[in-house]
């Protein structure tokens, strides 16, 4: 039963793939718009053997991880600070929310000037785009902690440190992890986007190369690999959340 939900998700995806395969083979969808799903899957061994997709997968995943970790290291204390100070929250929360909506990727030339055509540029843009959800969801998580749980802690004379470790943080974990999931999605989109634009690094650069060669199955195969990076992060985050909640 534990695997029933993921299995049904996979079944739906396979069914959708089958439907697309049928629609393309019947010429309802042009093969120049969307290649056959079977061709996309068949391109994967070629991408591994000829295009070094595994190394690129690791590069993109590593850059996204670095951006996410930075967002966590900066965003968690920032969220806590804004939660503790009503004045600071009123002053800065709208700006953090506005940052979440900013199309940062368009400012990549500025980051190129600052950090050069290097992974640092990619990680910094990923980090800045990943930061707002961590901050906003951390504030939301701490603010949503039920007053009665804090009163239980006060009645047991918890120190501020104990209150944070034993009540505030565990209560906020679900929201913080929602923020982290969003952060990794935002981070990954921007990392791949910048790789694509500056033609450097992992899967973004590969997708750029394959698209310029009109290798449509390969391009979609590359996009599939980006989705796999996202799935890998979500799986690891689920495990981390469960582990943390058990330890709290």
């Amino acid at each position: 039963m534990r695997f029933a939900a993921p299995l049904s998700g996979i079944m739906v995806l396979l069914a959708l793939g089958g439907l697309l395969q049928f629609a393309i083979q019947m010429d309802f969808i042009s093969v120049y718009v969307l290649p056959l799903p079977s061709d996309i899957l068949a391109s994967l061994p070629r991408l591994v053997a000829e295009e070094g997709v595994l190394g690129r997968f690791a590069t993109t995943a590593g850059e996204t991880l670095a951006a996410g970790l930075l967002a966590l290291l900066v965003g968690l204390p920032m969220g806590l600070l804004l939660h503790r100070s009503l004045r600071m929250r009123a002053a800065f929360e709208p700006w953090v929310a506005a940052l979440a909506a900013a199309p940062l990727i368009l400012a990549y030339p500025l980051f190129l000037v600052l950090f050069g055509r290097s992974p640092a540029t990619i990680v910094v843009i990923g980090f800045i785009s990943a930061l707002p959800p961590v901050v906003l969801k951390t504030i939301e998580g701490f603010a949503a902690t039920r007053r009665v749980l804090l009163n239980v802690g006060r009645s047991l004379r918890l120190t501020p440190g104990q209150e944070f470790r034993k009540i505030l943080f565990p209560a906020a974990i679900p929201q913080i992890f929602v923020g982290l999931r969003l952060a990794l999605v935002f981070g990954l989109i921007n990392v791949v986007g910048v790789e694509f634009l500056i033609n450097l690094g992992g899967l973004g650069q590969l997708i750029n190369d394959l698209a310029e060669r009109y290798d449509l199955p390969g391009t979609w195969g590359g996009i599939l690999c980006v989705v796999l990076v996202s799935i890998a992060f979500f799986t690891v985050l689920d495990g981390c959340e469960r582990w943390l909640r058990r330890r709290a």
């Binding site: 239980v152 006060r154 009645s155 004379r157 104990q162 034993k166 565990p170 909640r245």
Partner: protein
Amino acid sequence: MNALLRVEQVSKHFGTRENGVTAVDRVSFGVAQGEFVSVIGPSGCGKSTLFHMIGGLVAATEGRIDVEGDAIRAPHPAIGMVFQEESCFPWRNVVDNVAFPLELQGMARAERHERARHFIDMVGLHGFERNQPSELSGGMRQRVSIARTLASQPRILLMDEPFAALDEQTRLLLGDKVLQIQQELSQTTLLITHSITEAVQLSDRILVMSFRPGRIKREIVVDLPRPRTSDAVVSPAFGAYVADIWNDLRQEATLGLAAADRRRTSAA
């Protein structure tokens, strides 16, 4: 009376003197070692404010609250609080919830779990140690909260309408459980409630509060035999106590209802 807990001329005002509200007005009473005292009153009479002041979570504007002469200015180690709202930590299972105060004391895991199991058995939750709070009913979750408070071995158990959200049958049965625990531990208990039957079923003494500003209107000594169970509710003596308290409370509850109607009318 040689009181363990003493509340002397305690008042609580909210807001300014001119535009504020007096929630509790010069309330005085004591609770002796091993005694079960209930404070009963209509909604809005300041019962919960009194609970928070005795628990040290809210400062009194005037007066003094002490435990054997030690003034309460913050949560006191002698007082264990059980809250009206459901207060289990949802990320901890039953045994880890109950062991929480022992964990804070730095007790080793095996020892604190053993101690916690003792209190889990006491509240009748044997077999549910590994369950998450989300897997329990509302009554069971409140019993977990009571067990957690008992695990901190407070000299005074202070409860604020712990069964308010439960149905009448469950309340009576949990009342039996509380009586059993109180008798087993000779636990000094102060219960804040709005339920007359609960107060009569459990208490040695009942303090009836007036509607705002909350004052002690009357003290009733409940002279029903102990050990008591919920069977007592069918006795004529029980009925007489309930009727007597209701006579006092009806007037206060009517005032509370009228105040609520006035608020609704002015808001509309």
